[in-house]
């Protein structure tokens, strides 16, 4: 595995606000690397520095040996970006959007035509080829953004919250395309606040909050380390906590109270399951641990013993 992105002490300040606070990370060739975090965690600021559309306040990033902030054109030429906002050219048709965009990458006309046709097929927009952007649904626009990001055959693809506001069908289609690209060897950077998305796509990820990296690892490993394997949710008033903790605590490796729900985290849920049946509690859920549990635990306000 070759490291293709290396960031050290990366910091971004907007006036007094520190959006990214001295983070370091490495991204390997061919992996999908995720930045997870709530709004304002610094994910987008970080990726914007990677693909050189935002000046670095301090620290360094090297992308495939080129320094961001220095070799900007070179890095941008080999990067594809699926932006968070829909930045398509509304004055142009689907086809024209692709052709004009390929000009910006100096792709010769004939080659641009070929790639445009292939990519429009790749995101299944053939029927809309000559439609204007205003005639597309949000899902179609996002698919076109994916196609556009691939025009320059990027060795690095950055997807900044690529499925925000999409219905499940469109979301799954984008995921499939991203997975397909990854299987073909592309390196992928994903920012998201959808845990399912991260679990579906990422090999490794970092959880960010307030500009800092809280934890990093593979989704599986993070869940294992932070939560365990299984989660029992009990909807019960706070007054019941002492009783429930006394009964169930010994079988769990951690617990957490959030609002009206008491969470127990465990490695093996069989014992606790038996106990639950014994106690005959009305409102319980027993389920596998997910990345969302990790996320809430790391970025939420609650504490765990």
């Amino acid at each position: 595995m070759k490291t293709i992105i290396k960031a050290e002490g990366l910091t971004k300040k907007f006036g007094d606000l520190t959006a990214v606070d001295g983070i370091s990370f490495e991204i390997q060739e061919g992996e999908c690397f995720g930045f997870l975090g709530p709004n304002g965690a610094g994910k987008t600021s970080t990726v914007r520095m990677i693909h050189c559309v935002s000046p670095i306040t301090s620290g360094t990033i090297f992308v495939n040996g080129s320094a961001a902030n220095v070799d900007n054109r070179k890095i941008k030429a080999m990067t594809g970006v699926i932006p968070q906002e829909i930045t398509l050219d509304n004055d142009l048709t689907v086809f024209e959007n692709m052709m004009v965009f390929s000009k910006f990458f100096d792709i010769p006309r004939r080659e641009a035509r070929k790639r445009t046709d292939e990519l429009i097929a790749f995101v299944e927009l053939e029927a809309k080829r000559d439609n204007k952007i205003s005639e597309l649904s949000t899902g179609m626009k996002r698919r076109l953004l994916v196609a556009r990001a691939l025009l320059n055959k990027p060795f690095l693809l950055i997807a900044d919250e690529p499925t925000t506001g999409l219905d499940p069908q469109a979301r799954h289609m984008i995921w499939q395309r991203l997975r397909l690209l990854k299987s073909q060897g592309s390196t992928l950077i994903l920012t998201t606040q959808y845990m399912e998305e991260a679990q579906q796509l990422c090999d490794r990820l970092v959880v960010m909050n307030e500009g800092k990296i809280l934890k990093s690892g593979s989704p599986r490993q993070l869940i294992d380390d932070e939560i365990g394997r299984e989660v029992v949710e009990i909807r019960a008033p706070v007054e019941d906590d002492p009783r429930l903790l006394a009964e169930l605590g010994p079988f769990a490796c951690g617990h957490e109270r959030a609002g009206d729900t008491l969470f127990f985290y465990c490695r093996d849920g069989r014992e606790i399951q038996k106990k639950l049946v014994e106690l005959d509690l009305p409102n319980t859920v027993h389920r596998p641990a997910t990345l969302e549990d990790v996320f809430l635990k790391l970025t939420g306000r609650s504490l765990i013993e």
Binding site: V53, A77, E85, T87, D91, L92, F104, F105, D106, N152
Partner: protein, 255 residues
């Protein structure tokens, strides 16, 4: 400043999109100046008699022509650029490619100048049929080159305004407090000679004054020494405004 040949790619993008608006924008940029020519030139001109030995219309045409260049390039850099920046997020997608922010802004200023050239060129044709034309063909070509330069000047000035604009309403300050007064105090409709001294001095600060002087000289073929100063003013302001406008916009686009 990180400007490359890629600014022409931005220009090209505008050209591709322009084909959808070409008719409406041509009509828009033709009608207003045409009103000036007909109302003032033919209507009022009839009462003015000989005007420095020539018809009033021939006094009016070079000024109105340059005004239409100013209007087209100004509005392209105000509303056009603002829409691309805020509403369409077009600059965001441009700067994620090897096109730099400077390329994008410079390309759009140049595009505004091209729009100015089209407006001015149309005026030249219309005036031709009204019997007013530059002294020679090379003079006409020279005027075309000057229109591009003057379009860059006004486009760059407007780009500075856009770089500070929080919303569309902000542009009213510029159009009402700068552009409209300039129309009346730059010698477009009447010579500055009869103004009091302080007003003459004031007019010398207005870019349109110098642009009109240059245009009038090319139309009449009478070149005086003072033109060097007019031209120097235009060159200097164009350079400074272009540099400042591009830098300001870059600051706004790249955060």
């Amino acid at each position: 400043m990180n400007i490359s040949r890629r600014l022409f790619l931005v220009f090209y993008r505008n050209l591709v999109s322009y084909k959808r608006f070409v008719v409406s924008t041509l009509v828009a940029s033709l009608v207003q100046p045409l009103f000036y020519l007909v109302a003032f030139g033919i209507g009022m001109g009839a009462y003015m008699g000989a005007f420095g030995g020539k018809s009033y219309l021939s006094f009016l045409v070079p000024g109105v022509l340059i005004t239409s260049v100013m209007m087209s390039s100004t509005f392209e850099s105000l509303y056009g650029a603002f829409v691309k920046m805020i509403h369409e997020k077009l600059y965001d997608s441009l700067i994620a490619t090897p096109v730099s922010a400077e390329d994008a802004v410079a390309g759009d200023i140049l595009w505004g100048a091209f729009r100015g050239l089209i407006s001015g060129g149309l005026m030249m044709i219309v005036a031709f049929f009204m019997g007013v034309f530059p002294v020679s063909v090379p003079a006409g070509v020279l005027l075309g080159v000057l229109m591009v330069l003057i379009g860059i000047m006004f486009g760059a000035l407007a780009m500075i305004v856009t770089s500070y604009a929080p919303n569309f309403d902000f542009f009213n300050y510029y159009t009402e407090l700068v552009i409209t007064p300039m129309l009346f105090f730059s010698g477009v409709f009447f010579p500055l000679d009869n103004f009091p001294g302080w007003m003459k001095t004031f007019a010398q600060f207005l870019p349109l004054t110098h642009a009109v002087q240059v245009s009038r000289a090319v139309y009449s073929g009478v070149y005086t020494k003072g033109l060097i100063l007019n031209f120097a003013y235009i060159l200097a302001l164009t350079s400074v405004a272009f540099w400042f406008g591009v830098m300001r916009m870059k600051k706004r686009l790249i955060k």
